[in-house]
Symmetry: D3
């Protein structure tokens, strides 16, 4: 069974992320979404909130599981006996950073392979930080995130996050 | 009447910015310089100070107006009945970020069009943050900013900004 | 009256080109589409055929005119008293090349200004050469070019072009 | 069974290509190497010679098959019931071109997914055209291609290719 | 005597940095490593600690000297009568930033010349910040930094740095 | 004595090339300009003509010598006991290609080091091919090439080159 891990901050999950989850779930037997519990980045949502949002929007995809993790990605992957990392690419800047991360992960565990998928062009300008910025400025975010979690984001923005 | 909006932080305005203002003012009937009042970026100058500096250095260009704004750029533009955003590009990194912003603004208001102008190559290495860095380290900034505002910048740097 | 020139090979015109024509025609009083008569590039269509195809697909936009030209772009622009070049950007590679061309044109005529527009993300992978390649390999091109000219392209491809 | 197709010119196959074949063969149940029979590119080797060279150097990988193809990639893939394209990326330029190809293939067949793998950094400067250039100039190519095919390349270079 | 200055934060020095030091020391008569004392970046190590680490790992290269500096790089260089800056490049992003810095330094002192060296491809994914991140997450860093300073880094990470 | 080799096609030499020659001649004891005799690129000028033009425009720089060469660059360098390659960079595309060439040369001779210099921003849009294109279209080239060789280029263009 081929198990792929799709890691990220998902603060919050966007339509672009959901697109990558759906498409990779068609190719791999199981896709583990790994929510990085990185407090240094001062996320808006707690890891548990982020896991719950992804579970909600991906509930109709059978072979997807969602967990939070801290520590090295390569250590997280060992729990699931997975050797495949999935990453979405939108831009050249993503490409450069993700390339370095892939080389780093390969040096930490040579068995691990990273596969890059293009973000669908209609999602290429969407990032979690832009979603938060637009919401803070009072703009509508219904084109950027799954509609199931719009209320949750708006509420959190009004309360200023869990920081 | 074609009205273009040129948004930015302008903290402080540089020779590169002034070049874009001059060149776009030749093409459009009116150019509105929009000074983004974004406190999250911890600017050195207050929005009012930045507006005043731009007014001073652009005082000889008749069809330019300068205002501070907060909130979404597309909302600011509606006040002036403008559907054209002007942005200067210096580098590939600018290009990527501004492309995403342009797509975002188009999704927030499909009538809005972003036009990119190249920064003149002799200004391609100048940014507001480098001006501040050089001034802080005691270097001369007279090649980077209009001479009318050098004293103002030096004074502010010595006092540590309005933060 | 603000007149912009949109130059290119248009061999053949694509949906991406048509999108730039439509959007720039909303901003400028008149848009001149300049079809470059560059035989060194061994085009599939003659300059006249390319002019006719653009006229056909842009027939519903009032303020657009289409002409072929050879020689320097800055000389072509003088005929129309135009000082604005419009270029569409799809990728970083476009950006680099077009930046150099813009600097070149500015050095040949300092009054000329180049404005870059982003190609809509849904057209970002379409280029004239890919359209020809796909048609040659027997693929459908109806998503890439205006439907009015599909027959013309298919016929020309079968006959091997005017080369 | 997950079947991936790895398309290319392979004129000739390099150590970088072989690395991608090996790594993708660990992840997918079967990897079909598709040798593009594109005469417009004036290849040095015939499609059959290229297929044979790949078969020779990949003979120890069980789940790899090699075929030549012409026409659209998405049509070639249907024969094998494959919906996954594998591409190796070395540089930003690769990235841009391959991104456009991936979007094109997705528009020609929405079920097809492209996965990008990084070329191992030690192969990042190797391309088929550089191998041929170095060999033509009399340099050694044993670091760039599998040793099994060095003689074949040297012989072909001396004879000036099949063109 | 040709004296080159290799400036940076070196927080901490990596195998990639050491590679650039070694290679430039073969070309220039003397190489001055300049450790930037920039507290705004919140370094993990004090400038003195960073100087000591570089001295330790470069102790076998005769024509290398290491000093901390604050203020403008061009002023630091004057002390050594040096007009050559050495910078290592790993990625496009490095390239853009370093290009702007080189132009800035040239405008501050027209006699100063910046030479860029490629980081060896096997070090292309290593940066000081990644070394610190991996060490914080409990990963091994022995492939990334000279072995002489691993203990020092691990100890500092455990103690949370000098901040 | 530190001897650097500056290789290229120089078809013809531009103000950008001359700028790199001048600046590298200040840093190295001797600069050898190597004119690549590559007939596959169908140059406008013969290698001898190109050598003569460079000699003419660099006649006032004492420590510069100019030779044509064919074969591998690393072999050409051995004649002069040189281990340093100088390359000018204008754009990201240059960067990528030159990076690959530098890695290739390092693999062909590990002692060889490539140093990259930025082309002065005022020459960043000038390339030999653009000079030829502008001259062919009847534009003035006096801003792009040293004035000593303008007549020579214009004459050659009228005669259609030595092809």
């Amino acid at each position: 069974m081929k198990i792929a891990v799709y890691p990220g901050s998902f603060d919050p999950v966007t339509n672009g992320h959901l697109d990558v989850i759906k498409r990779s779930a068609k190719v791999f037997d199981k896709v583990i979404v790994g929510v990085l519990d990185n407090m240094a980045k001062k996320p808006l949502f707690t890891p548990d909130e982020r896991v719950d949002m992804i579970k909600k929007v991906a509930s109709d995809i059978e072979n997807v599981e969602v967990y939070a993790f801290s520590g090295l990605l390569v250590d997280f992957m060992k729990q699931f006996d997975s050797a495949v990392i999935i990453k979405g690419l939108r831009t050249i800047s993503d490409f450069e950073y993700e390339f370095q991360m892939a080389l780093l992960n390969k040096s930490l565990n040579p068995d691990v392979e990273t596969f890059f998928m293009m973000t669908d062009s209609k999602y290429s300008y969407i990032s979690s930080s832009m979603v938060k910025e637009v919401a803070r400025l009072g703009g509508g975010i219904d084109e950027f995130v799954p509609c199931d979690i719009i209320k949750e984001i708006d509420k959190k923005i009004k309360n200023g996050g869990h920081r």
